[in-house]
């Protein structure tokens, strides 16, 4: 996942690399996702997560488009 300064730079990068555009989130959205995704990563009890748990994190982060289907 790469950091861009604007939508125009994303489009330029995709075109230059001959890639389809994926999903673009604001940095604020990614911070909220990070807290949900990584908040328990240092725990001994963290053993990965199920698809259901992944889907719940995406739902809590407001990521509900087909792109985020698990």
């Amino acid at each position: 996942m790469l950091l861009f300064q604007s939508e125009e730079w994303v489009d330029k990068w995709c075109k230059r690399n001959n890639l389809e555009r994926g999903e673009v989130l604001t940095i604020n959205q990614v911070w909220e996702l990070s807290k949900l995704w990584y908040g328990n990563r240092m725990s001994l009890e963290y053993h990965g997560r199920s698809f259901e748990q992944v889907a719940e994190i995406f739902r809590q982060a407001g990521l509900t488009s087909k792109f985020w289907y698990v």
Partner: protein, 163 residues
């Protein structure tokens, strides 16, 4: 194969080592820590790689990624409590303070424009006024900072370095 209890203890050790030293433990260090052979530690590393708990450099026992931490230098530096970590990507640069539950200062490079930016996490919040490098032509707000996810979740593990 050791039982899963040991497996997850090794995962935890790898993460604790990253947090403490900013780098992953070698398989030799992990073997010494647990009092097991290098062969046994290698088997555990491989199993954790297979389970996506962390990711080895192909053909080696070197840990390339224990997300959000990177085992190699990247364009995403995260400064926490006097230590500097490398994050794997623009998501993981925020993942490090989320993982460590710490304030952080993040220095990152924009793709394509190659300008640098400084972000700050303070008291669990992302500061709303990032700092561009001095030569930058215009100011920027968080609403303009974008992270591009090139692949849908279903394909994230096809090629994790690309993802």
């Amino acid at each position: 194969m050791k039982d899963d209890n040991v497996l997850w203890q090794v995962r935890h050790f790898v993460y604790a080592h990253f947090a403490e030293t900013t780098r992953p433990p070698s398989v030799d260090e992990t073997a010494a820590h647990f009092g097991i052979s290098i062969e046994e530690a290698s088997e555990l590393y491989q199993e954790l790689n297979n389970r996506h708990a962390f990711f080895l450099e192909p053909g080696t026992m070197a840990i390339r990624m224990a997300n959000p931490f990177s085992g190699i230098p990247t364009d995403f530096k995260v400064h926490v409590n006097g230590k500097t970590y490398f994050a794997n990507c623009a998501w993981d640069m925020l993942g490090i303070p989320a993982t460590l539950h710490c304030d952080a200062v993040i220095d990152a490079v924009f793709t394509e424009s190659n300008e640098t930016i400084r972000l700050e996490i303070k008291n669990g919040e992302l500061a709303q006024s990032p700092t561009l490098a001095p030569h930058a032509s215009a100011g920027v707000t968080n609403h303009q900072l974008l992270v591009h996810f090139p692949l849908p979740f279903a394909r994230w593990y096809d090629d994790l370095v690309f993802t």
